[in-house]
């Protein structure tokens, strides 16, 4: 089933075209990688899907519904969860409370205790069980990313947008993270659209890959196809200084 549909999405900031006629689809159950050099418009695309930024032209459809003009929180309740490239935990609240915020919306009908139980489960899933009372601001970067994942999962998403969850981890941690994402995907029956710079991870885990360059979708296909595409290679080599970081 077609879950997410982008139709000629365009967005510019004061003359700079951040997205130009992006058309793409994500099927239910897929895991799709989104790659491209820095400044290609990946995060902007996420923000458009999540409703944080409204696109100038084009349409975003989710599960058949036109959500282009929906406010962020409504899009979230429809089933799109996300994490942020630069982490945004609720710093003064404990990990448990961070997750409970999401549950207070997605599990409105459940009792308080049931929600706490569920929150604890989620924290355990991402490996934060022991830190449930720690204020989120005091966590290290990896744990903050875990927390964001748990928080996103608490919204009961059908589609999960992951923005560089692996960035900044060492190779051992990358392995762990890949395992975790894979596990989550299976346990929660998730569709995932993710931005990543760590090629190894994205090649290993994605069913399909979208490549953005300067706001345009330049290539789409399996990891195999994409890695041999001339346009992709050019895009990366042409901007090698920025993307090598």
């Amino acid at each position: 089933m077609l879950l997410l549909e982008l139709n000629e999405v365009s967005k510019s900031f004061g003359g700079v075209k951040a997205l130009e006629n992006v058309t793409a689809e994500v099927q239910e159950g897929e895991i799709v990688g989104l790659i491209g050099p820095n400044g290609a418009g990946k995060t902007t695309l996420f923000n458009v899907i999540a409703g944080v930024i409204k696109c100038d032209r084009g349409k975003v459809k989710f599960a058949g519904k036109d959500i282009t003009k929906y406010p962020t929180h409504k899009i979230s309740t429809l089933g799109i969860g996300r994490t942020f490239q630069i982490v945004r935990p609720f710093a003064t609240m404990s990990c448990l409370e961070n997750v409970l915020v999401a549950l207070s919306i997605s599990e409105k009908s459940r009792s308080k205790n049931e929600r706490i139980e569920k929150a604890q489960e989620l924290l355990e899933t991402v490996g934060l069980a022991e830190k449930e009372q720690t204020p989120a601001g005091n966590l290290n970067l990896i744990d903050k990313k875990r927390l964001e994942l748990a928080r996103a999962l608490a919204t009961n998403p059908r589609l999960l947008l992951l923005d560089e969850v692996i960035g900044g981890l060492n190779s051992y941690e990358v392995g762990e993270a890949i395992a975790l994402i894979d596990k989550l995907r299976k346990n929660f029956k998730l569709t995932i659209l993710w931005i990543e710079h760590v090629m190894k991870a994205i090649m290993q885990l994605s069913d399909r890959i979208l490549v953005l360059d300067q706001g345009k979708l330049i290539c789409e296909g399996t990891p195999e196809e994409v890695s041999h595409d001339a346009r992709v290679i050019r895009a990366y080599l042409g901007d090698s200084s920025a993307s090598s970081s």
């Binding site: 999540a50 409703g51 944080v52 406010p71 962020t72 929180h73 409504k74 979230s76 309740t77 969860g81 996300r82 942020f84 945004r88 935990p89 609720f90 710093a91 003064t92 609240m93 409370e97 961070n98 409970l100 915020v101 999401a102 207070s104 919306i105 997605s106 409105k108 928080r151 996103a152 608490a154 919204t155």
Partner: protein, 305 residues
């Protein structure tokens, strides 16, 4: 709530109950003013401390509370109880309108709009002197029955207790959780489904109505309401009390309000310059101890244990 905290609040309440019998009339007056500011600061804290929006219209809403009730009482002989209720409803409606206008646009806009609104309220009160008596001050009847400071004190205390308990339960609820999420990071909050604008609007309307309640009670205690209540001076005191006590905590505004009220009695000899002293204290806190007295003491004790 932890047991120790509950016990502490209860002791504070009992102490407050017997206070009127221990102090002179004059200090009773300060206490009642203190309670007024506790109401004001605690409710302002709801919007500023818990959802992270600086509203400058809080004193204006208190003014709307006391002038609505005062005018109804003076012109139509309506008992203050109903007058205050009307004032609260009016303030709620106005804050709803104002909030709906500007909250979706974010921080600076809310601050500027509320600032503009508060000036509009002040200017209207000053100019419509045929109704409000402008800077001359409107004389209003006492809350009910004969004038008595002790009655006023207990009514004010009852209001404070009710409001604090109410705020406590709101903060414990889902809404309170969402307040704090919004304050921490509105984009993240929205992305987990929190309706940010609605949450802020709720906090804004709640704060506005509570300010009107505080203003109404205080006006009928003072017997004379002047544009000083809806002024930026009052707004400053409320802000300073909350900042000094500790924003975003239950006890902060209470501590801050009582602390400044007591301080103002001791430095009253310096006349107008007590505001200067307050402002300097507030600046020191805002700049170096943004968590306020409550947060600061908390950290101290934490370090020791």
């Amino acid at each position: 709530m932890k047991r120790a905290n509950l016990v502490s609040w209860c002791i504070a309440f009992v102490v407050a109950l017997i206070l009127p019998f221990l102090v002179s009339d004059y200090w009773l007056h300060s206490l009642i003013s203190g309670l007024f500011y506790v109401l004001m600061a605690s409710s302002w804290n709801l919007i500023a401390g818990y959802t992270g929006q600086v509203s400058f219209a809080h004193a204006a809403f208190a003014g709307i509370g006391c002038y609505t009730s005062g005018i109804l009482a003076v012109k139509f002989g309506i008992p203050p109880f109903f007058g205050i209720l009307t004032g609260i409803i009016l303030a709620a409606l106005l804050s709803l309108t104002l909030g709906a206008l500007c909250i979706r646009m974010g921080g600076i806009y809310l601050s500027l709009t509320t600032l503009g609104f508060s000036e509009i309220v002040r200017i209207i009160i000053q100019n419509e002197y045929k109704i409000t008596r402008g800077t001359m001050g409107l004389k209003v009847p006492f809350l009910f029955g004969n004038y008595s400071k002790i009655t006023a004190f207990y009514i004010m205390l009852a209001a404070v207790v009710l409001v604090l308990v109410g705020i406590y339960f709101v903060l414990k609820s889902d809404l309170g959780l969402q307040f704090r999420a919004v304050q921490n990071d509105e984009i993240a909050a929205a992305s987990v489904g929190v309706p940010v604008v609605f949450v802020r609007l709720t906090a804004f309307v709640m704060a506005g109505s509570l300010a009107a309640l505080a203003g109404g009670l205080y006006g009928h205690y003072l017997l004379l309401i002047t544009p000083h209540i809806p002024s930026l001076d009052t707004m400053f005191l409320v802000l300073a009390m909350t900042v000094i006590g500790g924003m975003g905590t239950m006890a902060g505004p209470v501590v801050g309000a009582l602390f400044l009220e007591i301080l103002s009695e001791y430095i009253r000899v310096y006349g107008e310059f007590h505001v200067l002293v307050f402002a300097i204290v507030a600046m020191i806190f805002a700049r170096f101890f943004p968590q306020g007295i409550v947060g600061f003491m908390g950290n101290l004790i934490k370090q020791k244990t």
